[in-house]
Symmetry: C2
Subunit: 324 residues, 2 copies
């Protein structure tokens, strides 16, 4: 039985909590928070503790799952907590992964702990799909499509526009591009050809819809390079129809073997809830961290370093007999 704990109780923390309840070899010791524990009621009824209580849990937690954000929380927290605990995080700032890895690796090795960074689905399962496909088909081209799904960053960018009360942005793969890749055509695709963006916007009273729409569709980096559709809706509609956080996407590789034969490898996720699914991935990865720690393999890992069997609760014998 692996004893898990959660640090940070937002959407992802709740996703991890839900995932732990589905894994018979895992138990949830508690949720740790920087907020006032009395202000939090967990879905599972598990106890909530202050960050300062963690010191008393050194022997009671096998893996601490860090559910903070990549911008400011994890760069500071993961290296710090890796000195006291085995940890897993979902650090997703791709460009800063080497730096984050080095910091966590140093902490974990110095104190003989095992850590894993950048778990989830991208980075995470999508990275796996890319790596396996490239290893198997060295001559080829990769494509990643995201969506249909809610982009929090793009939704936030819309909310910062004057006159906007609330907004939800969906990233949507362009079906024709996806079909071109799937059929093995190995196309060159521009940003605009790969994804389109659909925005549902609630205006503040008196705001000018035309002005807001122009501010959205012309926003550099976020929207200017895409075909963007803007729908103005009421707050009630936003709450009723756009409350979820669905996401997903596609990783494809068009490759050729030496005789000229074409092959396409596709990995697809279709997720009702991004944080619930990400939480489930983190728990499977925590199992891998737990196993590596148990055999004395310390330091920082990524999903590339754990064997597929490491993520499973089943024995190697069961896996060979029934899953190969």
């Amino acid at each position: 039985m692996m004893k898990l704990a959660i640090f940070g109780y937002g959407n992802l923390g709740r996703g991890v909590e839900a995932a732990i309840s589905q894994n018979k070899d895992a138990e949830l010791v508690g949720v740790f928070t920087r907020r006032d524990p009395a202000s939090i009621k967990t879905a599972s009824g598990c106890p909530v503790y202050r960050e300062s209580d963690l010191a008393a849990f050194k022997e009671k937690i096998d893996v601490l799952i860090l559910c903070g954000g990549s911008a400011t929380d994890l760069p500071e927290q993961t290296p710090r907590f890796a000195k006291e605990f085995c940890v897993v995080d979902s650090f997703d700032t791709h460009a800063k992964i080497p730096e984050h890895f080095a910091a966590v690796d140093a902490s974990a090795k110095a104190t003989s702990h095992t850590a894993l960074i950048s778990g989830g689905w991208d980075p995470g399962l999508f990275s796996l799909a890319r790596l396996y496909a490239q290893s198997v088909l060295p001559d080829g081209k990769d494509y990643t499509f995201w969506g249909k799904g809610v982009s929090q960053g793009h939704s936030d960018a819309i909310r910062r526009i004057e006159g906007v009360l609330d907004a939800r942005q969906y990233t949507i793969p362009v079906e024709e591009a996806l079909e071109a890749v799937r059929s093995g055509k190995c196309p060159e695709l521009s940003t605009r050809e790969k994804h389109r963006r659909e925005c549902f916007v609630v205006l503040k009273e008196g705001a000018d819809p035309a002005k807001v729409e122009q501010a959205i569709v012309n926003m550099p980096a976020y929207f200017a390079d895409y075909d963007t559709t803007v729908h103005f809706i009421s707050l009630e509609e936003l709450k009723r129809d756009h409350a979820g956080l669905p996401h997903g996407g596609f990783v494809l590789r068009n490759g050729k073997t030496a005789g000229g034969e074409k092959h396409t490898i596709e990995f697809r996720l279709s997720l009702d809830s991004n944080p619930a699914f990400t939480g489930s991935v983190l728990v499977a990865l925590a199992r891998g961290v737990y196993k590596h720690f148990a055999k004395g393999d310390y330091g920082c890992k990524t999903i590339f370093d754990l064997s597929p069997a490491d993520l499973s609760p089943l024995s190697p014998e069961e896996l060979r007999a029934h899953y190969l």
Copy 2:
């Protein structure tokens, strides 16, 4: 540079040979055969040796890739060659994997070699897709669809019918079933609902097409449980339109997280040539065997036991910086 050799030069052996030419960290030492080496001209021009020559290559081969059949070749060859070499095979008789594993593991451990069995795409990449999906979504249901692709076993079964000169059988997933799974409906599907079978048959002179068709569609285990279509064509048409060995398929999992959210994970292969692609997988797995042998990790492995990074020619630093 890993030095690879091939034992058995049929379709799969040629696929491995072609794959080695695409991997800069691999070189092909030679092809070994039970036939007369003078009767074989390799596509790459690499030398061909007798099986008895292998003894002289003990220090010259890092991994020997066994390209024989699962029915009689591999159960005997893999345990035997694992005493002298690191080996990889594509043993695909699912029910006999535990027995084959035990035999290969004993040989490899006794002589400090590393072996990998059951490489390819099913078993192989499809097994990986199932294992990752189950580890991440413990509450769910798996589906595997094969095709569109040529089934050698079913083609052979048709050829054994009186009056049949030659035949090619395609296994085809039923689109409606695939869509039901993809949409997260978690359906119960019968054999007939999942796949249909399409047969292209060349008759011997004077054979009765109606009789042959009945013999095919009513054949127990092979065709009786499927909707089967039979087309009679000329030998010229068979050679012109059905010479390839395309294959592929889909592994899907419909899963639920504890809050009731539905998620679908899909892995898809679309392959112009089954042996060319399988050969490519075996070369990536040989790299993993080579790495495990180098660090003194002996015995028999499967694709479940190698980390994704083990299959890649890139360094862990490169993988983290560019592929995560």
